[in-house]
Amino acid sequence: MSQRRYALDFLDRLDQRIIYLFVALAVGIPLISGYSLPPTRMSTAQAFFDQIEKLSSTKDKLVLISADWGPGGVAENRPQTEVAVEHLLRRRIPFAMISTYALATPFLESVPREVIARIELEEPQQKWTYGVDWVNLGYRPNGFLMIQGLAKSQDLHKVLEVDANGLQMGDIPLMAKVRTIRDVGLFIQITGLVGVLNSWIQYFQTQDYRPPFVHGCTSITIPEAYNFFASSQIVGLFEGVAGAASYELLLNSAFPNRKPGEAVRNNTSIAVAQMLIIALIILGNVGSMTRWLTDRLRPSEPLS
């Protein structure tokens, strides 16, 4: 017995590989052509920006960046780290890179160096020096135990001992005045891993001091991150690539000579792909609706 045929039946039987092909085209064409749509301005990214703008560049306090992302976070966390690092470098605010995630190790060094190389091309009269403007504290194992050690230490030089390149803390000019958590003026935590932000929020504080927290998350963890943003446990937020793209707009406004980065272009590709997915969901439902309507209008038609 053959099944009843419907007008838009092919939509139900569409091969998944055709959908993959359409998605690849939707993503690939903006990437190749370089076409980009302006990103939405986000209040969360603006709040992140304002926190860095509030900081003084007197080098009394340090910004600690915990980049807890690896190769799986390159798509979203890397652009976020890049724009945050760029903003700090341009404002000459000293910062330290650290991570509790082993696979982040190469990025702790490469991201600041690549950003510095790019902005030194734009501003050849300026130089940024390792140990003076930034430092790489490297991967630190033992998760929340290490975080507690950092928070409760009376001498961070003893806890950290050396940087990622084996340089003693005492030999790094940037770390000369940094002794306790009170010398951390802002804490930036960027990750797509579940539970890492929670560990920092839970343990990176003392009874009487907690640095302001800002956070960069992947799209998948935005709903969870909003809990912390709503309760002011974090005071700035990057929402996936869109957050980084929105931040690029703010950087472009603050530094008019800046060349646009890649976050805006990648954000355009994601937007086009998402529009395609919405269109495919609607089309799929049109197919189902047609089937339902056909059955309702011609219920007695014999099966052919």
Binding site: L31, G72, E76, A102, N198, S232, Q233, V241, E262, Q274
Partner: protein, 245 residues
């Protein structure tokens, strides 16, 4: 971007592209090529974690002080300071932690349980402090006034700011009421209706989670396609128009 052919960087990019294509081959069908690279990635990620832990913690913090490898000798073989005997105390936690490996023995598995029990106790104690630090501010923030003073309800922004706390409080109470399982619910009762509303609210939340998951997956795809189209292809075929343009 120009990379010298057959240089270390050139091989890195070419191999990375082949690995990505191997993983993408799963989209066509399950195949041995995909399986091989999947297991390769898992192995590499695990070995990097082990090696980084040894390099950044076990070697400099445990082995070097214990075996006196961190003191530089003078040319005559003497040292500026004597060996710190307190370093030997490191042996105690090392020995205790090593008992964990008895989990592989049927006869002495109880020794591993000592370590597990100790770890659970420590983690429980820390979690007690951590949970309070994380949750209490969120509970405090949940007590919001329904009326937001100083908001101009006649403007669009003001209107949404004005009703934000009402929506939040309604969603919170409705979602909480869904989890009241301690007394009998009757059809049409306030709790029953509120629980239904809570279920709808949670469905909206799950929809947001699902949508953000798709956005995250798309971001991963964009990054890989960007690499394949703009870096990998331009490294292999620098003469094509998108690379020369």
């Amino acid at each position: 971007m120009s990379v010298a052919p057959l240089s270390y960087e050139w091989w890195s990019i070419v191999l990375a592209g082949l690995c990505s294509l191997a993983i993408f081959s799963f989209l066509i069908r399950e195949n041995a090529f995909y399986r091989f690279f999947e297991h390769l990635f898992i192995g590499i990620a695990t070995s990097i974690t082990i090696m980084m832990t040894v390099k950044t913690f076990i070697w400099p913090r445990m082995v070097k002080p214990l075996f006196d490898l961190d003191r530089l000798p003078f040319p005559d073989g003497t040292f500026a300071e004597p060996y710190n005997n307190l370093n030997l105390l490191l042996l105690m936690p090392m020995a205790f932690g090593s008992l964990y490996y008895f989990i592989l023995s049927h006869r002495f598995a109880w020794l591993a349980q000592l370590v597990i029990g100790f770890s659970l106790g420590v983690a429980g104690g820390f979690a007690f402090e951590g949970t309070f630090n994380e949750i209490i501010p969120q509970i405090v923030d949940s007590f919001r006034t329904l009326y937001t003073p100083g908001v101009d309800l006649t403007t669009t922004e003001g209107f949404f700011a004005g009703i934000a706390n009402i929506v939040f409080t309604f969603t919170l109470l409705a979602s909480l009421s869904y989890f009241f399982f301690t007394f009998k619910r009757t059809d049409g009762s306030l709790v029953e209706r509120s629980s239904h509303a809570g279920r709808w609210m949670m469905m909206c939340c799950f929809g947001a989670f699902f949508g953000s998951t798709i956005a995250a997956r798309m971001a991963l795809l964009v990054e890989r396609l960007d690499f394949l189209l703009n870096t990998w292809s331009c490294t292999l075929f620098p003469f094509i128009s998108i690379c020369t343009g």
